[in-house]
Assembly symmetry: C2
Homo-oligomer: 418 residues x 2
């Protein structure tokens, strides 16, 4: 008998019939003898509807009031899901964020969880109840309603699993796990049965949208065994089968898990990126800050940053930004930064993509980077930028090569074979 936290996304509770299916799935786990806590998102489209209403009234909605409005979506879901469970003869009880309570800071619309008081949940579990908790929302010290920002329900579920010391946090979603790469690009892409938390973090940061990066961080920090699995399967699939489905996020320290791992776990691609180069700036202390500080102040997120060795005291600094931010970033650099730093030019390139390979195995295997570069070179794909971390190598290439690069890397690292 285990304690399991199950999170269901907005699509999974998007209609009455789907809510019934979620209830059937939950009831099945409960009937198998497990204690179950469920965290549903708002019904699909509901949060967007509420935010649109707010923006119609106040184009730049007051964050406190926006959270009051936006948090109602999950509140409706917990009530409805509890009813659906009762209709199946399962005892169920719902809690909002403030009832649990999920104490957060006061950063409306993007609050951080401070603590979770799980007493009432434990008491209800002891009574044989399935407990249904609203994700995405909390309450600050002063009693104001807060929300955790988009994708916050994943974070709520993982945090709750951590607080309850649950045996597993199951994130039900519309994909059936984490793949070696995007199956739309490589039909032979393979579902990973396990992935380490570090790999998952890197995958999330380079475009794998399976889990919010914040919830992965939480899972890592509190070592919550977290499983990504499909909500589209038959809700009455045997528990034993479902328990082995999807992808389990593990922790490297588990030697058994580590031994099983291939060198590389996956290939990720991220489009909608753009590259900015500041040409021939004096290579002196403070220059990177002089360029990137104003970018950060303008709330433009910068990803890969590369600075080459200097020639004659001059260097080039390149970095990537979201394509939607390119025009704004260029304008800012040309008008506010260029006059002060004596660079030769600021240029932007709109059509680039980031291709990453991720794997714990590369820590102990030499030559992974070389193999990646050679594979791309053999296909005539020019590498514009390179950035590496301990378990990830990212290259920036012309966007038109995205699919080709993913396919040849997937093949070169033999990801189709288990």
């Amino acid at each position: 008998m285990a304690l399991i936290v199950q999170k269901f996304g907005g699509t999974s509770v998007g209609t009455v019939e789907r809510i019934r299916n979620v209830a059937r799935r939950v009831a099945k786990w409960k009937a198998a003898g497990h204690d179950v806590v469920v965290v549903p998102s708002a019904m699909a489209g509901e949060t967007n509807r509420l935010i649109a209403l707010a923006k119609e009234i106040q184009p730049n909605p007051d964050p406190r009031e926006l959270d009051v409005v936006a948090s109602t979506g999950e509140q409706v879901s917990i009530g409805l899901l509890s009813m659906a469970l009762m209709e199946l003869g399962v005892r169920a009880k719902s809690y909002t964020g403030w009832q649990v309570k999920f104490l957060t800071d006061s950063a409306y619309t993007r609050a951080r969880i401070v603590s979770i008081d799980e007493e009432r949940i434990r008491a209800d579990l002891k009574q044989g109840c399935v407990v249904v908790v609203a994700g995405f929302q909390g309450v600050d010290q002063a009693g104001n309603i807060t929300t955790l920002g988009r994708g916050g329900s994943d974070t709520s579920a993982v945090a709750l699993a951590a607080a309850l010391k649950a045996d597993e946090c199951q994130i039900y979603t519309d994909v059936d796990g984490v793949y070696t790469t995007d199956p739309r690009i490589v039909p032979g892409a393979r579902r990973l049965r396990t992935i380490t938390f570090e790999e998952m973090l890197e995958m999330a940061s380079v475009g794998s949208k399976v889990l919010q990066i914040r919830s992965v961080e939480f899972a890592g920090k509190y070592r919550v065994p977290t499983r990504v699995l499909s909500s589209l399967t038959d809700p009455l699939l045997p528990v034993e089968t479902e328990a082995r489905s999807g992808t389990l996020i593990t922790f490297e320290e588990d030697p058994h898990m580590a031994m099983e791992k291939a060198v590389i776990s996956g290939v990720a691609a991220q489009r909608d990126e753009a590259k900015i180069t500041v040409h021939s700036v004096p290579d002196k202390p403070g220059i990177a800050y002089a360029i990137l500080g104003p970018i950060a102040d303008a709330h433009i997120e910068v990803d890969v940053i590369v600075q080459n060795v200097s020639h004659d005291g001059m260097t080039d600094l390149s970095f990537t930004v979201a394509r939607a931010d390119l025009a704004k970033a260029l304008k800012l650099l040309r008008e506010q930064v260029q006059p002060h730093i004596q660079c030769r030019d600021v240029t932007g390139e709109e059509r680039i993509a980031k291709i990453s390979i991720v794997g714990m195995g590369m820590r102990s295997h030499a030559g992974i980077a070389a193999k990646m570069f050679r594979t791309l070179a053999e296909e005539g794909i020019n590498i514009e930028m390179i950035s590496t971390s301990e378990i990830k190598i990212t290259v920036v290439v012309d966007e038109k090569y995205t699919e080709l690069a993913v396919r040849v890397l997937h093949k070169a690292f033999e990801l189709e074979q288990e």
Copy 2:
């Protein structure tokens, strides 16, 4: 400078544009120097939508979970209205029922208010804020969400006005006050500038749908000066004009108000009633309970009850029920009651109406009842039942006479003249 609580119904906040109009109206009162607390209902249709969703999942929804779901409607309204006020440059802050807090008992879907902690509201008012409070909802001692039942927002507003010792509670609705009778029946019906709380209570009990009877009771208990006025006028109508509009509920003890009053304040009609007569039952103790007990157990509401003097130890007992309950009540009486009480027959009459005249003045004026009966007799309207209270006389007549009865009584008591 006064402290005013303003309540706006679902139609008044039914669209973004209407919410803006409510904000303009509130801002106007604030600009005139008043402290304003606003209690909006859920946007029109929203509560019904939520309840329908719940019933789709659970035909007989769990009351605790139904309140979790249904209370979100008002939560959305308070956020949106606060935003609309800010957009006009007015400082505003919203509170849900549990934030205020409105402490209630645990009778989900029809909770009663136990106490209101108005500290935070006072503090915000002092800061110059307009405070926007969710009506209809509260929280019980254990922290569960409760709702006050349909029309509960009126009760919330009046109760809040009582707790804050507000100078006036203004209930904005889609009629512009309380009339001497239904203007659709009598075009010359006149708006009452004032009505006593007792009269309002009687009017509410006989079909005037202007205010929920429960909120009237609250107004009476705590002597909250409550004004019913229109939300359909120009929101920028001068405050001085609006302050004198509608109908103010007063308390008889105010001698100035009492002196102004006519003998009769209004004529009310209620259709959709049916009459049941239990013929020739033995006139002995316990017989009324034997008949009406099972009716109450079946949750059928009984209104006018009349028992005539007995002849030869036998009597007839008649009472009215809602027309929709007639068949059920007759079946129950014939199958479960008749076998035990030795009555001759149980009959039902479907097409009746209740006509009432209401007025504090009848306490001190003799002959009011006689005048009412004579007026009806002169028109050939047969009176089937009579029931009286201190300030109300109700007669039951054939439904086809409804309009005629209302018109002639309105004229006979000279209600068209101020």
